[in-house]
């Protein structure tokens, strides 16, 4: 395996992980937001869903930009 292909494999790995990690992180941020801003009366289901969706979109954008 040449150094170039090894680098490509690492980048692919990172991009793949991002596709899973960012939606999860987004969901967690949604939970944190609901708990800290509890007087905004946001439905936690919507907050988690919106956070996960946002994470997924960001992951897609990064994949598109770097892929």
């Amino acid at each position: 395996m040449t150094p170039k292909s090894r680098q490509r494999v690492r980048k692919d790995d990172v991009l793949t992980v991002l596709g899973y990690a960012l939606p999860v992180l987004g969901g967690l941020l949604g939970i944190a937001y609901v708990n800290t801003k509890y007087m905004d009366f946001i439905n936690p289901v919507w907050a988690v869903g919106a956070g996960a969706l946002l994470g997924w979109i960001i992951a897609r954008v990064i994949r598109k930009a770097l892929g």
Binding site: Y38, M39, D40, F41
Partner: protein
């Protein structure tokens, strides 16, 4: 009881009396002792002369005396409210003292040598930090003494007088005024005149009107615009004299963009006769300001047969006048024989917020009728109510709450959670929610549960070596955790222990 009888037998055989007394004290009211101190009383009863006497004792200006007399005039035409779910023998308002102060407090002491040692010992026994004792005793220059850890400024009220206020100089540097209300009437009459009675009018209700006529002392706080109060403020109320009512008045003003956190605590000696406590708390919150007000109420609750205790009839109200203003009430009600108390929020400013967190514990023959009022007047106002009621023994616990959405309170929101826990077969829990919605864009949610302590939970705890009382305390603390979390860190631990102590003897 069998264990106690046994100890009595052992005393006769020559066992140390102190040890037996210490054992006997476990599980009883911790602050039930009395300070043997020489007191000065106003004559018994209430009439215009007594009102004038209280006013003159505080060296008040003429306008204040007139205000009190007008309130007294109104009070004579009012009837005691009977709608609350509490029952108690009729109070003879002419058979009690309305003013009592330690004789040694006639003139403010200037050195520690002049302070009545009994007064100092009282503070020490109540657990008020030693370094603050000198200041509480009114010793000049004691404010300069360094304090350890996080500072809490204390205003100590002993029967009808404020004994002293700590850290006044340090607060003054930040622009914050924290003193007794009697001092504020003399030193800052323009502020008192502008705000006193504007949130709780002198004609508000029977007890508030009585308080307006005869209040003797209390606390005053003014936080200027844009100032974050550099330390927690607190007031400690102690009833010591027998057959004396305590009528204190608290006035808190948070000007634009300011912040203050305030805590009040209270205790009283253990007596066979009931005593009256009728307080008024007024909070004014201007634009973008925030006030957190916490109460740990530990008045004597009466003995296990319902004898004695404090009748606690209190009117507390916060007026969120400015836009985006916030208020948070947190209360832990463990003491007093009868509680009649509804801390309220008037959400006048647009986007203003009110929060109410309450734990009400009633054991033996205690009766608590408590809750809150959230009056939404401004647009997009929000409120949240979390109430936890725990009943044990033969106690009755009532949650009574009002959520009112006025026609102009568009897009407002309220969430109410009201949980009751029953321990034993002879207690009661009642929920009386009033909900008024006069516009079609507001939302109100109300959740309520009533449950008994789960046998499985107790069994699980007991399998891990806990006795039944420890297990109940653990379950109850878990039940109350939402409210305990809302208390300032310094007092959350104390409140947690208080919750456990209040339920001692409720099982088995």
């Amino acid at each position: 009881m069998a264990a106690l009888d046994q100890t009595q037998v052992q005393v006769k055989e020559g066992v140390d009396q102190e040890t037996v007394d210490a054992v006997r004290e476990v599980g009883t009211y911790k602050y039930g002792w009395e300070t043997d101190i020489e007191m000065e009383y106003a004559p018994k009863g209430v009439n215009p002369d007594i009102v004038r006497l209280i006013s003159s004792k505080n060296d008040e200006p003429e306008w204040m005396t007139e205000w009190r007399l007008a309130a007294f005039e109104r009070w004579t035409k009012m009837e005691e409210p009977k709608w609350a779910m509490v029952s108690y023998p009729e109070i003879d308002f002419q058979d009690q003292y309305y003013y009592a102060r330690p004789k040694s407090m006639e003139e403010k002491p200037k050195s520690l040598d002049e302070v009545d040692p009994k007064l100092l010992a009282t503070y020490e026994k109540l657990g008020i930090p030693l370094k603050e004792q000198m200041i509480l005793a009114g010793v000049e220059g004691a404010e300069d003494a360094p304090a350890e850890g996080r500072k809490v400024a204390v205003d100590a009220v002993f029967d009808s007088v404020s004994v002293g206020t700590t850290f006044q100089e340090e607060l003054k540097k930040a622009g914050v005024i924290f003193c007794s209300i009697s001092e504020a009437i003399k030193e800052h009459p323009e502020l008192v005149k502008k705000y006193l009675g504007t949130v709780v009018p002198a004609s508000d209700n029977f007890y508030a009107t009585l308080n307006s006529a005869v209040f003797s002392d209390g606390s005053f706080v003014y936080v200027p615009p844009g100032v974050r109060c550099p330390m927690e403020l607190s007031t400690y109320f102690r009833i010591n004299a027998e057959n004396t009512g305590q009528f204190e008045r608290t006035l808190i003003i948070a000007d634009k963009g300011s912040y203050v956190s305030y805590l009040e605590g209270c205790t009283a000696p253990q007596r066979d006769t009931a005593q009256l406590h009728a307080a008024v708390v007024e909070i004014i919150i201007e634009e973008d300001a925030e006030v957190k007000y916490a109460t740990v109420q530990n008045w004597f609750p009466g003995d296990e047969n319902g004898k004695g205790g404090i009748y606690n009839f209190v009117t507390k109200r916060a007026d969120c006048r400015g836009d985006r203003s916030k208020v948070m009430w947190t209360q832990v009600e463990t003491g007093s024989a009868v509680t009649w108390k509804y801390p309220s929020c008037i959400l006048r400013g647009d986007d203003s917020q009110g929060e109410f967190y309450s734990i009400a514990i009633a054991n033996n023959y205690q009766q608590a009728d408590t809750g809150t009022k959230m009056v939404h007047l401004g647009k997009n106002t929000k409120s949240r109510i979390v109430s936890k009621g725990i009943s044990a023994g033969k106690a009755q616990n009532t949650y009574r709450g009002l959520v009112s959405m006025h026609p102009k309170a568009k897009d407002s929101r309220n969430y109410t959670q009201c949980d009751s826990l029953l321990i034993g077969d002879n207690c009661g829990a009642h929920t009386v929610p009033y909900i008024e919605v006069r516009n079609n864009s507001s939302r109100v949610e109300h959740e309520a549960t009533t449950s008994k302590v789960d046998d499985d939970q107790l069994f699980y705890c007991r399998q891990r070596g806990m006795d039944e009382e420890e297990a109940v305390a653990l379950v109850v603390n878990g039940f109350c955790k939402d409210v305990l979390q809302a208390l300032p860190m310094e007092f959350a631990m104390e409140a947690q222990q208080l919750v456990a102590i209040s339920l001692e003897g409720s099982v088995g």
